[in-house]
Amino acid sequence: MNTQAELKKHHQLIKKIRRFFDNQGLIEVQTRHLLDYPTTDVYIDSIKTQVNKAFKPELKYLHTSPELEMKKLLANGSGDIYQICQVFRDNEQGQHNFNEFMILEYYRLGFNIHALMDDITNLLKTLGFNQPTTRLSYAQAFKKFAHIDILNTDFDKLKKIAKSHDLYADFEWIEDLQILLFTDLCEPKLKTLPLCFIYDYPKNQSALANTQGQIAHRFEMYLWGIEVANGYEELQHANDYQNCFKHDIDKRATLGKPLVEMDKDFLSVLQKPLPQCSGVAVGIERLALNLLK
């Protein structure tokens, strides 16, 4: 159990975060945690549960992120919004991963990812963080830490590089190999950096972010080498989302993972496109642990 001092500290942190957003006029929202559809994300599994067993059994899924529900609000004209909530994920493993954790998720209209990175940096400052900030594009990080031209190295060449580092290389998708190489060659170097943003990911790691040429407008934020936040310049149109969901569902099938359906309600709400905006999810526990190291 937490001590009273720990509870107070956490309370203060949450209050400061709320004040930061309230002062800028964002609306705090609460979206449903119990959903009709599981996530399609290839490497995230929803926790499913059966409800109404007594009269009309139905499967529901705990949300793994409030993203799609918040995007429905954005498409409906909510304007800038934020949410602080618990999220739930199955099959999580690792020293920093749990089945339940707290997320801060927020969206800013008209922001690109650089404006959003500026905004989070300001948030961290109001929370007491005053260390230097580093920003590296994904390509710069690979060049600097691994001497690899990641955007212009094809799959076969990348497999050879992986083998030369004694790494598993028998991947079916280039993005999985890129991620393994990043974990092995780049991420350990981020441990000495207090705050580091890695941005502009290769297009095939776009997730739900806008792409431009070879790159996707996405960033990840690391505190002392620990991944704390994930931000996107958001896709706006239903058909773009549908393509992403389909790609993920096909990939899940190939990997032998449980089959999932895409969220049709979301796609129908998005017939009215999302306004141009950027959004980010921040792991609150990881933030609290690594902010004032």
Partner: protein, 187 residues
């Protein structure tokens, strides 16, 4: 030998890597917000003693290494090999100079050592943490000096040199910490 998947990795597990048997020292699972999990593993190469940092894709599997650790008694050196005996089975193992390595300075007849076997061949010998050695050469001792400042080098009966207090003389038996090569007390 069986294969082990990353989900079975734990400290002390022995695996084959680059043709050498290795032992897992630490295993950290890294699951990115987007993308598949991987295991960042620190291993010790049991042949070279080198520490390796490796990243494995989660689900990848590696061949286990047939490595055993035995408590064996050091019995004698015949000029070519160092000979050990299993006090339970009386089975003997002859180990060459290269495998003995730095342990040679701490091998005392009758002492129990931990011998690592790979495919039944000795690959490493760990002496006890403390051994009793005899001083065969050192500068004359200073009367009245207790374990105070400074010290002097002393050569042991096994050939190694240990820093000892000034009052230690030739013929004295001393206790040495084999992990740090430091004098701990008079024996």
């Amino acid at each position: 030998m069986a294969n082990y998947s990353t989900s079975q990795f734990k400290n002390g597990l022995k695996l084959m890597l680059g043709g050498n048997p290795c032992s897992i020292i630490s295993n950290e699972i890294r699951k990115p917000g987007k993308g598949q999990a991987s295991n960042r593993v620190k291993l010790k190469d049991l042949i070279t003693g080198k520490i390796l940092d490796k990243t494995f894709k989660s689900g990848e599997s590696l061949e286990g290494a047939d490595v055993m650790e035995l408590d064996l008694q050091y019995i004698y050196n015949d000029g070519n090999t160092w000979n050990f005996m299993d006090p339970n089975s009386f089975e003997q193992y002859a180990i060459d100079d290269a495998t003995i390595g730095d342990a040679r300075g701490y091998l005392v007849e009758q002492d129990m050592c931990v011998v690592t076997l790979w495919n039944n061949n000795p690959i490493a010998v760990a002496p006890p943490n403390h051994v009793v050695l005899e001083v065969v050469d050192t500068d004359p001792g200073l009367k009245g000096d207790s374990a105070s400042t400074g010290g002097k080098p002393a050569t042991m009966n096994t050939g190694i040199v240990v820093q000892v207090p000034l009052f230690i003389n030739i013929g004295d038996k001393i206790r040495v910490d084999t992990r740090t090569n430091e004098y701990t007390s008079r024996a």
